[in-house]
C-alpha cells in the first residue's frame, strides 16, 4: 500500500479517475497511510484507544489509573472533536482552465478541494465550498456530516473555468457572506493585482477568519519553457505578446518569482498562510500544509 502512495497523490494519475469521490478517498487514504505514527494523529475529548507511552509524549495524556493498577504507562488517545468550520474557495476564472501537463489548474484545485473536504469531514470538522469567479458563484454552506460530502463533490464536478478575473471582488463578496469565523482556504492562481489580493485577505482577517492560500500555477507559468517563437495570447482577453521564449525566459522567471515572493510577503503581513503550488506537485504537500495550519488553530 505504501508503495502506491506517491501514485495516489500524483495529480496526473488521480485526474484519470472518473469519480471525484473516489479521487478524494484515494488521495486522503493514501495520505493518511503515509502519516502513520505522525504527530498529526489528533487528540480529542472523546476517548478512542490506548497507546503505549513513548519517551517524549506529553504527560497530561498519561492514563494514571492504568499506571496505578498495572504499573504500565499508557497514553489515552481521543477522537478529536472541534468546531472548526472550513470554507474552501475555488477560483473558477478562465485562467484556471489552463494546463499543459494534462491537468488544468482548476482540475488540480478541484481534486485538492475534494481531498481536503474528505479529510476535514473525516476529522468531524465542518466544511463548506464556494466556487467563485467574476459575477457568478455557487456555494454550499459548511456542515460536518459525512453525508455532506456528496453535494460538495457534485458542486466541485460542476465547476468550470470561465469569466474574467475580478477575483478580489468575489473574495470581498464571500468575506461578507461567511458570517461565522472559520478557516478560509483559497485555491486560486491569484492572477490579480497583489494589492487587491492583500485587501481581500485583510477583509477575511478583519472578519476574524484564518486564511490559507494555495497559490496554484501551471509549471509552464513558472518556467516559461517554450521553445518556438509564437504569439502568446492571454486566456482572459488580456494582451497578445509575440516573442521568442528563450530571449525572455530569464527575465520572466525572475518576475514570476518576485511576484510569488510578493504574494507570500502579503500573506505573512496579513498573518495568512501561503503555499505556492504547481499542478505537478503531489497533493500531500498541500494536505500537510492544511493539517499544520489546523494544528496551529486548535
Amino acid at each position: 500500500m505504501s508503495d502506491d502512495r506517491p501514485r495516489l497523490l500524483d495529480p496526473v494519475f488521480i485526474s484519470k479517475l472518473a469519480r471525484l469521490d473516489l479521487q478524494a478517498r484515494l488521495v486522503v487514504e493514501g495520505f493518511l497511510t503515509g502519516l502513520h505514527r505522525s504527530p498529526y494523529h489528533g487528540f480529542s475529548v472523546e476517548f478512542a484507544e490506548h497507546r503505549q507511552y513513548m519517551p517524549g509524549d506529553p504527560l497530561r495524556h498519561l492514563d494514571w489509573k492504568v499506571l496505578a493498577k498495572s504499573d504500565r504507562k499508557y497514553l489515552k488517545q481521543y477522537q478529536e472533536e472541534t468546531n472548526l468550520r472550513a470554507h474552501l474557495l475555488v477560483d473558477t476564472s478562465a485562467s484556471m482552465g489552463y494546463g499543459t501537463s494534462g491537468v488544468t489548474k482548476l482540475d488540480y484545485a478541484r481534486q485538492l478541494a475534494a481531498s481536503l473536504a474528505y479529510l476535514i469531514l473525516g476529522q468531524h470538522d465542518a466544511v463548506g465550498l464556494f466556487g467563485f469567479a467574476q459575477g457568478r458563484g455557487e456555494q454550499i454552506p459548511a456542515r460536518s456530516t459525512m453525508g455532506h460530502l456528496r453535494p460538495l463533490l457534485l458542486l466541485l464536478e460542476r465547476l468550470t473555468a470561465g469569466g474574467g478575473t475580478d477575483f478580489t471582488a468575489s473574495l470581498h463578496t464571500l468575506a461578507e457572506r461567511i458570517t461565522r469565523r472559520g478557516l478560509v482556504v483559497i485555491l486560486s492562481d491569484l492572477l490579480d493585482e497583489p494589492e487587491k489580493i492583500a485587501q481581500a485577505i485583510h477583509h477575511f482577517r478583519h472578519r476574524r477568519h484564518e486564511v490559507l492560500v494555495f497559490h496554484i500555477l501551471d509549471p509552464q507559468e513558472v518556467a516559461f519553457d517554450f521553445e518556438r517563437e509564437a504569439v502568446y495570447v492571454d486566456v482572459e482577453g488580456g494582451p497578445r505578446v509575440t516573442t521568442r521564449p528563450r530571449e525572455l525566459r530569464d527575465d520572466y522567471r525572475a518576475r514570476i518569482q518576485a511576484w510569488r515572493a510578493r504574494l507570500r510577503t502579503i500573506c505573512i503581513e496579513k498573518r495568512a498562510d501561503y503555499m505556492a503550488l504547481t499542478t505537478d506537485v503531489p497533493y500531500d504537500r498541500a494536505l500537510l500544509e492544511y493539517l499544520a495550519k489546523r494544528s496551529r488553530l486548535l
Partner: protein, 704 residues
C-alpha cells in the same frame, strides 16, 4: 584612378547567395502560431525593451551573415586593383631574353643551377601573359631574331622555355638584344616590355650590350633586368694547353703545360690536374693559384703513353680537374704534336770579334737541344737561303737593317708560319724597322734609342697577365720582372690593338711587344744596355718570346670553341670530299680554302660540344682538332644590375627597372598583369565576420 576588376568574374553569378540569410529571416517571420498563456502580462512588461534589443542583434547578425557571404563570393571572384600607372592596361609586346650561355650552367653552394632559376623566372613571365600579348622569347646564344608568339599559347611558350638549356657557348648579348629590340619595334602593340633574365656575368655585358639596353629604353620600351645569380661564384678553369710537348727540366722526360685561371677573390685550394689519353692516365700535376691569378702549369707526361694515330703522330689529351661551380671548363681537350725541339736561327752581324752569345746560351746551354731549343748561328746574308724546313723561329739580334732580298725572304718565312723575334740594340736602326720592316708584321712604330735619364735605369714590369711570353715567370701584373738594371731602350709606340705590350718599364715605355708569330724586344738582349743577361728573368723571357713566336708556326690552329665551325690546316688539298666527325654524333662535310701557302678545311656545321673532331677523306684520316669551351664564360663574376642604369640618360632612367628577387618579379607581374589581388583580405574579413556572428549567436544561446 586605379582600375578595379575581377579575375574570376564567373563567380559573381553567385552574388545572389548573399541574400540567403535575408530570405531565411523573412521566411521565419511567417504567421506565427498562437499559444494561450495566462501570464502574458508578465511578458508584456518585458517585451518592448527586450524585443528592441533582440531585433537589433538579429539585424546585426543578419548583416554579418549577409556581409560574410558577400565577401566569400567576392573573394572567389578574385577582385584586383590595378594602379593607374601600371604599364599594361592593354596588351603588350613582351620580349624575354633568357641567358643560356655557359655560365648559366654554374651551380651555387646550394646546388641550384642558374639556368633553372632563369627558366623559372621566364616561366613566371609566360604564365603572366594575357591573351592579347605578343611574346618574343630569345636566348643569348642564338642570334636569329625571335618570332612573336600569342600570349594565350602558354603551353607552347612553356615548352619553349623548358627546352632551353645552358649551352657551352659564350653569350652574344649585344646581337641578341639588338635582334630582340628590332623584333619588338616591329610589333603593332603600343606597350613594349623587355625582360633580360640573366646572371649578368660581367664579361657578357660589353659596351655594345649596354648600348643596346640604352637603345631599348630610349625607344620607349620598359626594360626589366631580372638577375638570377645571388652573387659571384669562385671558379677555376682551364684556359689553354700548349700543344707543344717540351723536354722536361734539365732535358729529362717530357712535360706539358696548361694555363689555369682562378676566378676568385681568395687563393685556390690545391688544384689536382689529371692528363688522360682516352681512359689512360698519362700524366698530371697540381697547383695553387692566388686570387685572380692566371698561370701556366707544367706537368710531367709519360712518353710511352703518347699514342700514334693516323699517318701523323698526334696525341689526343684530355686534362681534367675536380669539378667546381662550372663543370664545363674543368675539362680541356688538346691534340698534341710529336715532341720536338724548336729550331732557332739566330742572326747577328759580324762586327769584329765574336759576338756575345747570351741568347744562344739561354736557349740551349748544353748545345745538344736537351732544353727543347736548338740554335743555329747565322748572318743577315744567310736569310737569303731561309726556308720553312730550316728553322722554326728567326731571332734578329741587334741587326742594323736587312737587305731587300733578305727582308722579303724573312717576310715569306713568317707568312708561311715561321716565327720571328726581333731584339733592338745599339746598332739596330729604329727608323728602318719602324718604316720598312715592321709594317705587315707588327703594328709598332719606333723612335730613337734613349738612355735612362741621369744615369738611372729602367725597371721592367709585367703588363699583360698570363701572356705566354711570361709563362716561365711567376709575376703578377705591375710587379717588377727583375732587379737587373736596364739603361737604354728604343722608344716604341703600339699603334693598333693587334700588337700587345707584354712588358713595359715602370714609366710605361714598351719593352716587349707581341703580335701573332712575332715578338719584339725594344732593348738589347746582350749586355750593351745594362745587366739583364745576368738576371734570373733573362732565360725565361728569351724562351717565352721564342716559344710565343714559334706557336703559330707549330701548326696548331688557334683555339677552337664550341659554336664555331671546326677547321684545320692542310698541307695539300685532298682530292675527295672531307668529312668531319665529332662528339654527340656530329657529322659534317667541310670545304677547303687556300690559306697562305697551304689550305684550310672548314666544317659546314658549328661544333655542338667540346671534344675531338676528326677530319678524313675517302677513308684516310687527315687529322684531329680539339674544340673547347670559350674561357670567357669561366669568370662567374656578376655585374650589379643597378650599374647598368648608369649608362642611361636621365629621361630613360625610369624605363629601366631591376627585379632582383622572385618576390619582386611576382609583385611586378601581379601589379601590372592582374593588379593587386584582394581575395585574401576579403576572405580574412569574411572569416572574422563569421567568427563574430558565431560568437554573438553563441552568447545569445548561452544567455538564453
Amino acid at each position: 584612378m586605379p582600375t578595379f576588376s575581377f579575375l574570376n568574374p564567373g563567380f559573381l553569378w553567385a552574388l545572389p547567395a548573399a541574400a540567403i540569410p535575408l530570405l531565411i529571416h523573412l521566411l521565419s517571420r511567417r504567421r506565427l502560431p498562437e499559444i494561450p498563456f495566462p501570464t502574458t502580462s508578465f511578458l508584456q512588461t518585458l517585451e518592448p525593451r527586450e524585443i528592441r534589443r533582440i531585433r537589433l542583434r538579429e539585424l546585426l547578425l543578419l548583416l554579418l551573415r549577409t556581409l560574410a557571404l558577400l565577401l566569400f563570393v567576392l573573394a572567389f571572384a578574385r577582385p584586383a586593383l590595378t594602379p593607374a600607372d601600371a604599364v599594361t592596361h592593354a596588351a603588350a609586346a613582351v620580349g624575354i631574353l633568357l641567358d643560356d650561355s655557359e655560365s648559366m650552367a654554374a651551380v651555387d653552394e646550394r646546388g641550384h643551377a642558374r639556368i633553372d632559376e632563369a627558366k623559372a623566372r621566364a616561366a613566371a613571365l609566360v604564365e603572366a601573359s594575357r591573351s592579347g600579348d605578343a611574346i618574343l622569347l630569345a636566348s643569348s646564344t642564338r642570334e636569329e631574331a625571335p618570332r612573336p608568339d600569342r600570349g594565350d599559347d602558354r603551353v607552347r611558350l612553356r615548352r619553349a622555355v623548358d627546352r632551353i638549356e645552358a649551352l657551352p657557348r659564350p653569350a652574344s648579348m649585344a646581337p641578341t638584344l639588338g635582334g630582340l629590340r628590332r623584333a619588338m619595334e616591329r610589333s603593332p602593340l603600343p606597350f613594349r616590355e623587355l625582360y633580360v633574365v640573366s646572371d649578368f656575368q660581367r664579361s657578357n655585358f660589353s659596351d655594345a650590350a649596354r648600348a643596346e639596353l640604352v637603345r631599348a629604353a630610349t625607344a620607349g620600351m620598359r626594360v626589366f633586368l631580372v638577375p638570377v645569380a645571388g652573387s659571384s661564384l669562385p671558379n677555376r678553369a682551364f684556359e689553354s694547353i700548349d700543344p707543344e710537348i717540351r723536354p722536361g727540366p734539365e732535358g729529362r722526360g717530357l712535360e706539358l703545360r696548361a694555363r689555369l685561371v682562378n676566378h676568385a677573390s681568395a687563393p685556390s685550394d690545391r688544384i689536382a690536374i689529371r692528363l688522360r689519353e682516352g681512359e689512360a692516365l698519362i700524366g698530371g700535376g697540381d697547383a695553387s693559384l692566388r686570387a685572380g691569378e692566371r698561370a701556366w702549369i707544367a706537368m710531367p707526361i709519360e712518353e710511352r703513353g703518347l699514342g700514334v694515330s693516323g699517318s701523323s703522330r698526334e696525341t689526343r689529351v684530355t686534362a681534367e680537374m675536380d669539378e667546381d661551380a662550372l663543370a664545363t671548363d674543368d675539362v680541356w681537350h688538346a691534340v698534341l704534336g710529336a715532341p720536338r725541339r724548336l729550331r732557332v736561327l739566330r742572326i747577328v752581324e759580324a762586327r769584329g770579334g765574336a759576338p756575345p752569345r747570351f741568347t744562344a746560351l739561354a736557349l740551349d746551354p748544353s748545345r745538344n737541344g736537351a732544353s727543347g731549343f736548338s740554335v743555329e748561328e747565322g748572318s743577315p746574308a744567310s736569310l737569303l737561303s731561309l726556308t720553312a724546313g730550316r728553322a722554326d723561329v728567326v731571332l734578329l739580334e741587334d741587326v742594323a737593317a736587312l737587305s731587300g732580298d733578305a727582308e722579303a725572304r724573312l717576310r715569306a718565312f713568317v707568312r708561311d708560319g715561321g716565327g720571328l723575334v726581333v731584339a733592338m740594340g745599339p746598332h739596330a736602326d729604329p727608323d728602318y724597322y719602324s718604316r720598312r720592316f715592321f709594317p705587315g708584321l707588327i703594328d709598332l712604330s719606333l723612335q730613337s734609342a734613349a738612355r735612362a735619364p741621369d744615369g738611372g735605369s729602367y725597371e721592367l714590369r709585367a703588363r699583360a697577365a698570363g701572356h705566354p711570353i711570361l709563362e716561365g715567370l711567376s709575376v703578377e701584373v705591375g710587379a717588377p720582372l727583375s732587379k737587373a738594371r736596364l739603361t737604354g731602350l728604343v722608344r716604341g709606340n703600339v699603334t693598333t690593338p693587334r700588337a700587345e705590350v707584354v712588358v713595359q718599364t715602370s714609366s710605361g715605355l714598351p719593352v716587349v711587344v707581341a703580335a701573332p708569330s712575332v715578338a719584339v724586344f725594344l732593348s738589347s738582349l746582350s749586355d750593351d744596355w745594362g745587366e739583364l743577361p745576368f738576371s734570373g728573368a733573362y732565360v725565361p723571357l728569351i724562351r717565352g718570346m721564342v716559344s710565343h713566336a714559334a706557336r703559330a708556326e707549330s701548326g696548331a690552329p688557334p683555339s677552337l670553341v664550341v659554336g664555331a665551325a671546326p677547321r684545320m690546316r692542310l698541307a695539300a688539298a685532298p682530292s675527295g670530299g672531307i668529312r668531319v666527325r665529332g662528339p654527340r654524333d656530329y657529322v659534317s662535310t667541310a670545304t677547303v680554302e687556300a690559306e697562305g701557302t697551304g689550305f684550310r678545311a672548314v666544317a659546314l656545321d658549328p661544333a655542338p660540344a667540346p671534344g675531338f673532331y676528326q677530319f678524313d677523306t675517302e677513308g684516310q684520316m687527315l687529322g684531329t682538332v680539339a674544340v673547347n669551351v670559350d674561357p670567357v664564360e669561366s669568370d662567374l663574376t656578376t655585374l650589379p644590375p643597378d650599374s647598368l642604369r648608369a649608362a642611361l640618360p636621365p629621361d630613360a632612367l625610369e624605363r629601366l627597372t631591376v627585379l632582383p628577387t622572385t618576390a619582386a618579379l611576382t609583385r611586378h607581374l601581379q601589379a601590372t598583369r592582374r593588379g593587386e589581388e584582394l581575395w585574401l583580405p576579403l576572405l580574412l574579413l569574411a572569416a572574422v565576420l563569421l567568427a563574430v556572428e558565431i560568437a554573438l549567436a553563441s552568447a545569445r544561446r548561452l544567455s538564453a
